[in-house]
């Protein structure tokens, strides 16, 4: 039981990361109907920015942990958002109205290019950092197994929850969110009533990238080590999460992220850790075959 609860805690933390990335996939899919294959790379860039900003703040002599965390958060969100915007502008916007697979191929190219850009500019070796937030407390002990929650996990949950609340407010209550949802429903109609569609799509990418940056920051803090290749697998899993929750649905993305995180944690705990990626991909395949709309998604009607 204790072991189970510990895995639950770990799985929820992992799920928060996947959920944050999955939102980026699901929003972009909702608005322009493409799989933003480069989104995993955007997340990886966010993780690198977290490390670089951590080092820069360290050089500046900032030691207060809350200030350090806030600084890392803001810096990585801003710069990653800039990358998200640029990717959309360079690789996707010129392809509106091209054939269906063109944006996907372009996105794959962008993903390869970004991965190698970071590899060349920052080196291929893994980047380790010291734990920033240390310590934790024991919930209870049972049969010699202590269930622990680290302070970092609490920080991650609070941060993710706050972001989700803020994000939901942004999408449901503000005019910006209304425009975003309008474009999602019908781009042509939205442009006819004066919504700047291009700007809204750009903004979608910016928001998705900012959330992916937070996921990157969390990864950096939680695992303490990243390399240029982290984006590929995490991106795939987050995409699985988005599909599982129902692509196009924001709560679905978060739900799917949590489920993938839990599945992965429990699979590693109770089955073989080597095959945990196979488990995720297997879920992706099964969901796409048997329930392509996911849990909270709307069925897609193909119109001629």
């Amino acid at each position: 039981m204790a072991y189970f609860i510990q895995q639950l805690i770990n799985g929820l933390t992992l799920g928060a990361i996947y959920g944050l990335i999955a939102i980026g996939y699901t929003m972009v899919y909702g608005i322009i109907g493409m799989i933003n294959f480069a989104h995993g790379e955007i997340y990886m860039i966010g993780a690198f920015l977290a490390i670089i900003s951590y080092l820069v703040f360290g050089d500046m002599g900032i030691v207060s942990i809350p200030i350090l965390l806030m600084g890392m958060l803001v810096i990585s969100m801003i710069f990653t958002a800039a990358y998200g915007w640029t990717v959309e502008r360079l690789a996707y916007r010129p392809l509106r109205g091209s054939f269906r697979l063109a944006p996907l191929i372009s996105a794959i190219g962008m993903s390869i290019a970004l991965q190698n850009y970071v590899q060349i500019s920052q080196g291929a070796r893994v980047k380790p950092i010291q734990p920033v937030v240390q310590g934790g407390f024991q919930l209870f002990t049972q049969g010699g197994f202590a269930v622990q929650i680290t302070y970092l996990q609490i920080v991650i949950w609070v941060l993710t929850t706050a972001l989700m609340v803020g994000f939901t407010y942004l999408i449901t209550q503000t005019s910006l969110g209304r425009q975003q949802r309008a474009c999602e429903q019908d781009r042509k109609m939205a442009s006819l009533i004066g919504v700047n569609v291009d700007r809204t799509i750009s903004l979608t990418f910016v928001l998705g990238a900012a959330l992916a940056a937070v996921a990157g920051l969390i990864t950096t803090l939680y695992y303490g080590v990243i390399d240029f290749y982290v984006g590929f697998l995490a991106g795939m899993k987050a995409f699985t999460a988005a599909v599982l929750g129902g692509i196009g649905s924001l709560p679905g993305a978060m739900l799917g992220g949590l489920m993938i995180g839990l599945i992965e944690a429990f699979w590693s705990a109770y089955f073989t850790i080597e095959y945990k990626d196979v488990a995720t991909f297997g879920i992706l395949v099964l969901v796409l075959i048997f329930k392509p709309t996911g849990f909270l998604g709307k069925p897609e009607v193909e119109k001629v």
């Binding site: 670089i52 697979l101 794959i108 962008m110 990626d277």
Partner: protein
């Protein structure tokens, strides 16, 4: 009112057709954006310090160069875009067939034959030293993989991101069959193709009903699953250590080693020649050449059969095909299986050539390279694959010092081709069968694929 608004935006300093003010504005914005983007990655570098921890290293000069390059690049782009007499731009924007593509299209058969003769003569020509034949062999492998994937991506329009899985299946099935049962390459080659095709059917059957982009992701997932299984199934695949000592192919029972195995004869003994490692290299080259030509001929022929036409029809409009009573799943499945089969052939050739295989050789990057060859060459174009494979495989091989930039350039080139020429550099998409404009008759001439 609206008119005056437009009028107030008066052109700045005009030099001929070029609005310098607007251009400068664009360039400055680009430079500022690139300054922001490059700041954390180019100007700052998280380097591993002496104590093992990370330290920040600054590279302000290269940052400045990058920003300057962005400024100049944008300026050149504006000039190119605004120039009223820019022929390349109009060509990219308007024409379906580039002059180069048109040239290839008209002289298809001749070019193909010349290329084939050149390829056959290559190993015995003065250029045919050990290294160059080796590189050419690698080139041919990728041409064959590109042609195999072209059936799936170019003809049937299914984006397969896990093609390398079939390559792996072919390689491992040859290696395992030959090591377990001691079967020769020639027995295993067709079996490897059959196995790969079988995998193609198994993997394809449940997922081919999915829409294009979902299919792409699922095939990517399958590719990864197969790689992870190869990596972890120690008892059979020997895990990350791979399989070594894979048997080399023989020419009608003649071996290419220095000494023949028990009861065998070596090639050089049989023909009374001096022993040279070159014979095997040349033999392998001819072998892959034959396999690749087989792939090409097969594709050319099958395009004219009902199933080949069905692939192309399905690529253009699935709904129309379904309403005409075609079964999309079966048609796609045949494309998937045939593409996989050629991947399997290429895989077993790869295994026998290297003598060693490990899961390392079958990563997603490999799939991406093959896809890049098909996409850059022009989907559905046969000669495009040859040329793209030259740029993507042979050139990087010759310029080894730029090795690390190879994938960066691939990625950027894929984006650029999609933006400027979504159908690929040499491509045009004629249907295989056309109604001729003048007579209305069916023309079955040479206007198919480049």
């Amino acid at each position: 009112m609206a008119d005056t608004v437009i009028d107030t935006k008066k052109p700045g300093l005009m030099v001929g057709w070029l609005d310098l003010g607007a251009m400068l504005k664009e360039c400055v914005i680009t430079a500022l954006l690139s300054a922001v983007l490059f700041l954390p990655f180019i100007a700052l570098h998280a380097d591993t310090g002496g104590s093992g921890g990370l330290v920040i290293e600054t590279r302000w000069d290269s940052w400045a160069w990058f920003v300057l390059a962005a400024f100049v690049g944008r300026a050149l782009l504006v000039v190119w875009r605004e120039n009223p007499s820019s022929r390349t731009r109009d060509m990219l924007a308007k024409t379906v067939v580039t002059p180069v593509g048109g040239f290839f299209r008209k002289n298809m058969v001749a070019i193909g034959l010349v290329a084939l003769v050149l390829a056959v003569l290559f190993p015995i020509s003065p250029f045919g030293n050990r290294y160059s034949v080796d590189v050419a062999t690698t080139w041919m492998i990728y041409i064959m993989l590109g042609w195999g994937l072209n059936i799936v991506v170019g003809l049937a329009g299914l984006l397969d991101l896990g093609y390398v899985a079939f390559y792996a299946v072919g390689a491992y099935s040859y290696a395992l069959l030959s090591q377990t049962f001691g079967w020769s390459f020639w027995v295993c080659l067709p079996l490897a193709g059959v196995f790969a095709a079988f995998f193609g059917v198994i993997l394809g059957f449940p997922v081919l009903r999915l829409r294009g982009d979902y299919l792409a992701i699922v095939t990517l997932g399958f590719g990864e699953i197969i790689r992870v299984i190869l990596l972890n199934w120690y008892n059979v695949t020997n895990g990350p250590d791979g399989i070594s000592g894979i048997e080399r192919p023989t020419l009608f029972g003649l071996e290419f080693g220095r000494n023949a195995a028990e009861g065998g004869t070596t090639f050089h003994d049989f023909f009374g020649l001096e022993y040279s490692t070159m014979y095997r290299v040349v033999f392998l080259f001819y072998l892959i050449l034959a396999l690749a030509v087989l792939t090409n001929l097969f594709t050319q022929r099958i395009r004219k059969l009902p199933v080949g036409r069905a692939w192309e029809a399905l690529r253009e409009d699935e709904i129309a095909c379904r309403s005409l009573g075609m079964n999309p799943t079966n048609i796609k499945l045949s494309a998937f299986a045939l593409g996989a089969m050629f991947g399997g052939f290429a895989g077993s050739f790869f295994a026998t050539r290297q003598g060693f295989i490990s899961p390392e050789s079958f990563t997603f990057i490999e799939s991406a390279v093959i896809l890049a060859i098909v996409v850059l060459g022009g989907m559905g174009s046969q000669i495009g694959v040859v040329i793209a494979a030259f740029f993507l495989i042979v050139l990087p091989e010759m310029a080894r010092e730029f090795e690390q930039y190879r994938m960066l350039v691939f990625g950027a080139a894929m984006v650029a081709v999609m933006v400027w020429r979504p159908r690929g550099l040499l491509s045009y998409r004629d249907p295989t069968i056309l109604f001729s404009k003048i007579t209305g008759r069916k023309s079955t001439g040479r206007e198919h694929q480049a």
